[in-house]
Symmetry: C2
Subunit: 228 residues, 2 copies
C-alpha cells in the first residue's frame, strides 16, 4: 500500500492500461496471483491481448499501490502482506474509521442513512441464516457508504484503499454467525450515533468496531488464512 498515500485516482476504466491495471489488481486480491509470484510483461500482455506498454504502465501503478514490487531489470513480484502489516492496517483503520464516522454525522444524506438502514436489516437476515458471502458483501457496502458519507474525498479514498488491501486476507474471517450478528449490531449502533448527530460517540463506536473485527480475525483464522 503501499501506496499508501494519498492515493488517488479513478483509474481509467476504458483504456487498455486501465483494464490491465484492474485485471491484475483483481487477480492479486482474489488470490489468482499469490505472494512472490513473478509477473511477466509479455505473458500478461499476451493473456490480455495487448502489448507490453500498457502492461508496464499498469505495473508502475500497481507498484505504487503496493500490490507488486518491481526490482529493476529483474521483474515484478506480488508483494506479501505480513501479519504485522495487517495489524498496522487495522489499527490505522480504526482511527480513520472513527474520524470518518464523526465526519459523517455532519454530512450524511437521508439517502445514505436509508441505504445503511436497509443494509443492516438485510445483514441481519443473512447473518441468521449463515449466508456468509452476502454478509461479506453487505459489510463492505456498509463501510463504503460511510466512507462516502464523510464528505472527504481524501479520507474516502484512503479508507477504500485500506479496505481493499486487506481483502486478501479477510476472506473468511467474518464467518461465524456470532461475529456476524455482533458486527451487524455494531453497525447499527454506529448508525444510531450518526443519526443522533453525536460525533464523539460515533467515532468511539466505529473505532471499537474495527478493533473488534481485528480481534475476531486474529482469534479465528488469521494464521490459517494467511498461510494457505
Amino acid at each position: 500500500m503501499q501506496n499508501y498515500d494519498l492515493k488517488h485516482e479513478v483509474t481509467d476504466k476504458y483504456s487498455l492500461r486501465g483494464r490491465v491495471f484492474n485485471k491484475i489488481r483483481e487477480d492479486i486480491l482474489s488470490g489468482k496471483y499469490k505472494e512472490n509470484d513473478e509477473l511477466k510483461e509479455i505473458a500478461i500482455g499476451e493473456e490480455l491481448g495487448v502489448s507490453r506498454t500498457p502492461v508496464r504502465e499498469a505495473f508502475r501503478q500497481l507498484e505504487l499501490e503496493g500490490l507488486i514490487q518491481i526490482i529493476p531489470n529483474k521483474g515484478a513480484y506480488v508483494t506479501g502482506i505480513t501479519m504485522e502489516d495487517v495489524k498496522d492496517i487495522y489499527m490505522i483503520r480504526s482511527k480513520l474509521e472513527g474520524l470518518c464516522a464523526a465526519w459523517a454525522c455532519e454530512h450524511i444524506t437521508e439517502q445514505q442513512i436509508e441505504e445503511m438502514e436497509e443494509n443492516i436489516y438485510l445483514a441481519k437476515f443473512h447473518a441468521e441464516r449463515g449466508h456468509f458471502d452476502q454478509m461479506s458483501e453487505l459489510d463492505s457496502r456498509f463501510h463504503e457508504v460511510m466512507y462516502e458519507a464523510c464528505n472527504s474525498k481524501m479520507l474516502e479514498h484512503l479508507l477504500k484503499d485500506f479496505h481493499q488491501y486487506v481483502q486478501r486476507v479477510r476472506k473468511r474471517t467474518l464467518s461465524t454467525i456470532d461475529r456476524s450478528l455482533a458486527s451487524n449490531n455494531e453497525h447499527s449502533k454506529i448508525l444510531e450515533a450518526i443519526k443522533a448527530r453525536n460525533p464523539e460517540e460515533a467515532e468511539r463506536l466505529a473505532t471499537v468496531h474495527i478493533h473488534n473485527a481485528y480481534k475476531n480475525m486474529v482469534k479465528n483464522g488469521l494464521k490459517e488464512a494467511y498461510n494457505e
Copy 2:
C-alpha cells in the same frame, strides 16, 4: 490522495523513470509547476533528455500520488489542493501522528531519541534567532524520525506521503517566532512522553500538536499561501 494508498515503494532512483518521477514531483512541490498546468510528455522528455516512455510511466505514478490528474487522450494536469484537502490532511495526520507517537514509545531506539533531543536543542537555537528555513528543515526531520521510530513501514510511509503532500502549501506557515518556539516546545513534550514510555500521553500530545499546527496555519497565511 491519491492515493494513498498504502503507497509504497522507494521509487528507483537510478532508472530514467525514477529520475523523471522525482524531478516532476519536486517541481510540483516546489511550485515550478502550478495548479492546472498542463504537462506534456514530449516537452518534459526533451527537457530531461529522455523519450516519452519513461515520462509516461512517471506520469502514471504521479497520478496515483495525486499530484497530477490524467484525462484520457487529453493531457496531464497538476492537481490543485483545496483548502478542504489541507484541512482533511491535517485532521487525518493528527490522528495518525498520535498513533505514531504511541507506537514509538515501544520501539524507539536510543539513537533516535538522541537525534530528536539534538533536533529540539538546535531548533530552539534557530527559533530564537528567526532562522525559519532551518526551523522548517528541523521540524520536518523531527517528525521523520518519529515516523521511523514507530516501527511500522505502513504508517511511516503514509505519514511521509501526507507530510510531503502538504509541503506545497506549508511553505512559510511556521514563520513566526512565537509559533516556532511553541512548536518546538510541543516537540519536547512529545519526546518526554515517549521517553517515559507513556503512549496515551504521547498520542494525546502529538495529536494536539498537529491540531495546533493547523490552527496556526489557518490563522496566518493559509489563504495567502494558497492563493498566490
